[in-house]
């Protein structure tokens, strides 16, 4: 499901025009991005938490050339699902 499909299905559920939904989604994304940029944690109840984590700098060695490279620290967005979602997902059978 891509962006457009998501908007379409949401619009159908809300009985609202797609353009409104698209605007709202855009605003939500922008808000979340802003908050994350401030390194704040965003909790969506019953869904999960978006969190910014700092990855410390590390030394990586290229396995074949043995060139050592210092990887600088960085901030990454991490998502952790809530237990509610986890429980819901238990109902999905695992095929393989």
């Amino acid at each position: 499901m891509n962006h457009k499909e998501l908007i379409a299905s949401m619009a159908a559920k809300m009985n609202a025009p797609k353009s409104v939904v698209a605007d709202l989604l855009e605003t939500t994304v922008a808000t979340c991005t802003e908050l994350l940029a401030e390194r704040k944690t965003i909790g969506f109840q019953s869904f999960g938490n978006f969190e910014v984590r700092k990855k410390e700098e590390r030394l990586s060695v290229h396995p074949s050339t043995q060139v050592r490279t210092l990887i600088p620290p960085k901030l990454v967005v991490n998502f952790k699902q809530s237990n509610i979602v986890k429980d819901k997902l238990k109902d999905i059978p695992h095929h393989e």
Binding site: S9, T28, R68, H94
Partner: protein, 457 residues
């Protein structure tokens, strides 16, 4: 601030105010959004949100574990997990505070070996230099202290070398060989060494050279006479060194200008020493005479030396040294222009254009477009990105504020940084030469502080 958690309610409020919709509408929207995403995930779909990221389901296999309390083995059930992969744009925005950092390739093993080898090659002649320099120093200190014990070992070694060198010559070699056993002192050695120097130029005047031979041993005796020794031993250094320099200048200038400069430092130092020694000798002829006479008595082969009067000595020495000095000065004047001329040509080879001039001329910062106060998290690179568009041009900000910044990696809080107005040609990010220059400057400034290498290891 960092750990502050924003709840759904706050998000709803924010979205409502931003999109200018009622809170209820925003709340409904958010609920629907989450429900839709969940549904799609349940159906095994991947959900993509533009500018945000992708939600995906991931199956975690069941695995064995141990109950920590009882030590029993338990099996953790496999479960599905929602994973979120942020899009590049979100990643970049979040990582903004560290965006200026780049992976640094530490010197690999290969890199370590190559420079070491090079250093050794370069060091070899330098080491000889320093050895000789220390020798000279020792001798000088001896003179100063008027201590009677000369450094025999070193001198004798030299003597052998010199003899080999001189075997080609008939009577002179004989002479020196005779002298060598008779005189245990080092004087003859420098005298012999000098011969090659003079020979090519003064060959017709062999008599003068002879006098030289005789004179030099005599100088030996008095302590003042030792002043001679450094001077003499210096000369070979000078000759040996200048000649190769001459021949190889074209290469040297291009490849190792630094080494050459050092050499010239040495040569000038040697010249100063030489002049000083001559002065010392000329001022102390009587003492010399006494020494000479006493010495003459001890050696049979050298009796003829006695007949030469001291004024004669001085004259001959003067004669001997004046051409020598002239020669030295001549070589010097010749070589120095050569040096500069060559470096000039090296520069000329590169295309000279306005950009090159911009690079080469020291930049003067008079106009400033802004100023910023350093606070926690401030970085020159970030400022550079803000004002010039690329972080690599932070070096120019540093240059403009050099007097306030001690360490570009750790600027004191509260420092007011002025952002200089730069020639747009200088900070053209699309021009590889601008980038190259900025990188060069970066290397120069970052390498200045020794702490960098230590911390990176």
């Amino acid at each position: 601030m960092n750990k502050e958690k924003i709840s759904s309610q706050e998000i709803i409020d924010l979205v409502a105010s931003k999109a200018s919709v009622s809170k209820r509408a925003a709340e409904e929207f958010l609920k629907v959004m989450i429900a839709t995403i969940e549904e799609a995930l349940m159906a095994g779909e991947v959900v993509k949100i533009k500018n945000f990221g992708t939600f995906k389901l991931q199956w975690n296999e069941p695995r064995k574990s141990v109950n920590v309390q009882t030590g029993e083995e338990i099996i953790l059930q496999g479960y599905h997990k929602v994973t979120f992969t942020p899009e590049t744009s979100l990643k970049d925005i979040v990582n903004e505070p560290f965006a200026h950092l780049e992976p640094v390739q530490l010197d690999g093993d290969n890199d370590f070996i190559i420079p070491e080898k090079k250093e050794e090659e370069v060091l070899d002649p330098l080491r000889i230099f320093t050895e000789q320099a220390s020798e000279i120093k020792d001798l000088l200190s001896e003179i100063n202290a008027l201590s009677p014990t000369p450094k025999r070992k070193e001198i004798e070694k030299k003597e052998i070398v010199v003899k080999d060198y001189f075997d080609v010559e008939d009577h002179r070699t004989i002479e020196t060989e005779i002298i060598a056993p008779v005189e245990p002192i080092e004087i003859e050695q420098p005298a012999v060494v000098e011969l090659p120097v003079i020979e090519p130029e003064v060959k017709p005047e062999q008599s003068e050279v002879f006098i030289q031979d005789e004179v030099v041993p005599e100088l030996y005796e008095g302590d003042e006479a030792k002043a001679y020794v450094p001077e003499q031993s210096i000369e070979p250094i000078f000759e040996n060194e200048t000649d190769p320099v001459f021949e190889s200048t074209p290469f040297l200038v291009g490849v190792k200008p630094r080494r050459k400069r050092k050499r010239w430092l040495w040569i000038t130092a040697v010249l100063v020493l030489l002049v000083g020694c001559i002065g010392l000798y000329l001022f102390l002829p009587p003492a010399n005479k006494i020494g000479n006479e006493a010495f003459a008595g001890t050696k049979a082969g050298m009796s003829y030396v006695k007949n030469v009067s001291i004024p004669g000595f001085v004259g001959s020495i003067k004669k001997f040294f004046s051409p020598e000095l002239k020669k030295i000065s001549v070589t010097e004047t010749v070589v120095i222009p050569k040096d500069t001329a060559l470096t000039d040509t090296v520069e000329v080879v590169e295309p000279v254009d306005s950009l090159q001039l911009l690079f080469d001329n020291p930049r003067v910062y008079n106009e400033f477009i802004a100023s910023e106060q350093i606070n926690a998290g401030s970085r020159l690179t970030i400022m550079s990105k803000k004002y010039y568009g690329t972080k690599d041009f932070w070096v120019y900000i540093y240059e403009a504020n050099k007097e306030r910044i001690q360490n570009p990696d750790n600027i004191e809080m509260g420092t007011l940084i002025r952002i200089p107005k730069l020639d747009p040609r200088l900070i053209d990010a699309s021009n590889p030469r601008c980038m190259q220059k900025a990188l060069e400057l970066h290397d120069e400034y970052v390498r200045k502080k020794p702490s960098k290498s230590g911390s990176s290891d």
